[in-house]
């Protein structure tokens, strides 16, 4: 287990070093993505100004929501962006080389790539959560809550990435399908959390866990709600367990296309 994790850390380190070689490109990606993300804050803050407070959500909560979503997205996409490349790996048979590796398959695939722009998401997420902390005057207990919820949100994000991109093994034109499914999961997680009520809240909490990424963590911190923290924790564990099961089942469907290569 520790040996596998050490390998994952080593692979990540090499990925970062490789990306950082192209310094200008790396920095442009980081800064560009951070600026790009502010668009969602602008949109939803104007939304709050236009329609007023919905579901107890203020403009500050939007900042917190974007912080949680961007930071968990950034962590997953910088450390495990290889999962998003599964459709390409499967279609081109580059997946062969992972299967032949003696390391843990999922870990090996996840750490096979690195996204420089995801670092921009992380920077943006950290800034947002810091600003959010100041805006709602967080106490020490809430800071701890933010840290715990951040870990849980990241676990949910990772689990959903694994589950969604495991569909690559079932479809021929899987890139389009997986991207569509990913969109279905990610997009609602960036929406104003207060507007999700009733059936919509149930669907996007239990069936498509988009609200576990940002909306529920924000509400948990704001209301200091242990019940919501517990709910996010339980669902995060369930989704992680399910996603690994789905991945292990899906890889049985893999067939090499017999390309005369072992990937690049």
């Amino acid at each position: 287990m520790f040996k596998e994790l050490r390998f994952a850390l080593y692979a990540t380190k090499k990925n970062i070093q490789s990306s950082a070689e192209l310094r200008t490109s790396f920095l442009m990606n980081v800064v560009g993505m951070a600026i790009n993300n502010t668009a969602f804050i602008i949109l939803w803050v104007f939304f709050v100004q236009s329609v007023g407070i919905i579901g107890g959500w203020h403009a500050a909560d939007i900042v917190g929501l974007q912080g949680f979503a961007a930071l968990s997205y950034g962590i997953v996409f910088s450390l495990a962006t290889g999962i998003r490349k599964l459709p390409d790996y499967v279609a081109s048979s580059a997946f062969d080389r992972f299967m032949l590796s003696p390391k843990n398959l999922l870990l090996r695939v996840a750490t096979s790539s690195f996204s420089a722009s995801a670092v921009g998401d992380m920077v943006f997420g950290i800034i947002c959560l810091t600003v959010y902390g100041f805006l709602i005057h967080v106490g020490l207990y809430q800071i701890l809550l933010i840290l715990v919820l951040l870990v849980l949100a990241t676990v949910v994000f990772l689990a959903m990435m694994i589950a969604i991109f495991s569909a690559s093994f079932y479809f021929i034109d899987s890139n389009a399908v997986t991207n569509g499914l990913f969109e279905l999961f990610l997009t609602p997680s960036l929406f104003h959390g207060g507007a999700f009520q009733g059936a919509m809240r149930f669907i996007f909490t239990f069936l498509i866990p988009s609200l576990l990424i940002g909306a529920l963590p924000v509400e948990s911190v704001r209301d200091i709600s242990i019940v919501k923290l517990g709910l996010v924790a339980v669902l995060a564990i369930i989704w992680l367990f399910l996603s690994v099961k789905i991945f292990n089942r899906a890889i049985r469907k893999y067939e090499s296309s017999n390309f005369m290569t072992f990937g690049n």
Partner: protein, 248 residues
């Protein structure tokens, strides 16, 4: 049509973005007595639907195509073909998005008409001809705008950050997640007079003001098309001069 997966992806994206958003707005409008900023839900729903339906044309992807051509060196090969490179890229882009666009728009329109109804602003005689005009203008302007971003790849190593910023400017000022009816005054002016907002004027066609302002908005669109077309042609000429063919 050869890529059914693309249609599935676009349908998912349309449901994820537009469908969920419409349900959320329905709830928000219900809380506010059915009207926000003097605009009823039915108008906002159609305005947002037009934005997302238009996005299934994927005209913005022309940036990435040009960028990939430049980075892979494929642009050298395409320059040597007896067709205009930009013309080829534009028609390829239109062709690749047309089928999902037609299917998603027709099905989405029927669904929306059945669920929320058709606003009276869409039944006025001037609506159809002007929406057609503004749609053509929006398509041309989007293609030109995103071509400029793609052509920057001849000078800049990494175009993606520029693409993200332009794309988000279009997203905000185009009336995607926040319909133009809910814009604060200064933002509405930005949406009206910037090329980013002008590339999405289809979202304005369902509002009451459209009947008195349509000629102004189409005029703004034509202005930006001309300005950006000249910019594109100048950039393209310079870009061609920069290309050095390395045999091998």
């Amino acid at each position: 049509m050869q890529y059914p997966g693309r249609l599935i992806a676009d349908t998912f994206a349309l449901v994820a973005r537009c469908g969920v958003l419409l349900i959320l707005y329905w709830y928000v409008f219900k809380l506010n007595g059915g009207i926000v900023n003097g605009t009823p839900y039915i108008i906002v729903a159609w305005s947002m639907f037009f934005y997302f339906a238009f996005s299934t044309l994927r005209l913005r992807d022309i940036s990435k195509s040009i960028m990939q051509d430049v980075q892979s060196g494929n642009v050298e090969v395409l320059f040597n073909k007896p067709v205009s490179y930009l013309g080829y890229r534009i028609w390829w882009q239109i062709g690749s998005g047309l089928y999902p666009f037609v299917v998603a728009t027709v099905l989405g329109s029927i669904a929306l008409a059945l669920i929320v109804g058709i606003p009276h602003t869409m039944t006025v005689g001037i609506f159809l001809p002007t929406v057609f005009l503004v749609f053509i203008g929006a398509s041309i302007l989007s293609l030109i705008l995103y071509s400029i971003v793609g052509l920057l790849a001849f000078w800049i190593e990494e175009v993606n950050p520029v693409f993200w910023m332009v794309d988000k400017a279009v997203m905000i000022l185009g009336g995607s997640y926040l319909p133009v009816a809910l814009f604060p005054p200064f933002m509405y002016k930005l949406a009206l007079y910037s090329p980013f907002g002008a590339s999405q004027f289809v979202t304005h066609t369902v509002y009451e003001q459209w009947h008195s302002e349509w000629y102004l908005l189409i005029g703004i669109q034509i202005f930006w098309i001309l300005v950006l077309l000249i910019t594109t042609l100048i950039m393209f000429k310079r870009a061609k001069e920069k290309v050095s063919v390395n045999a091998g």
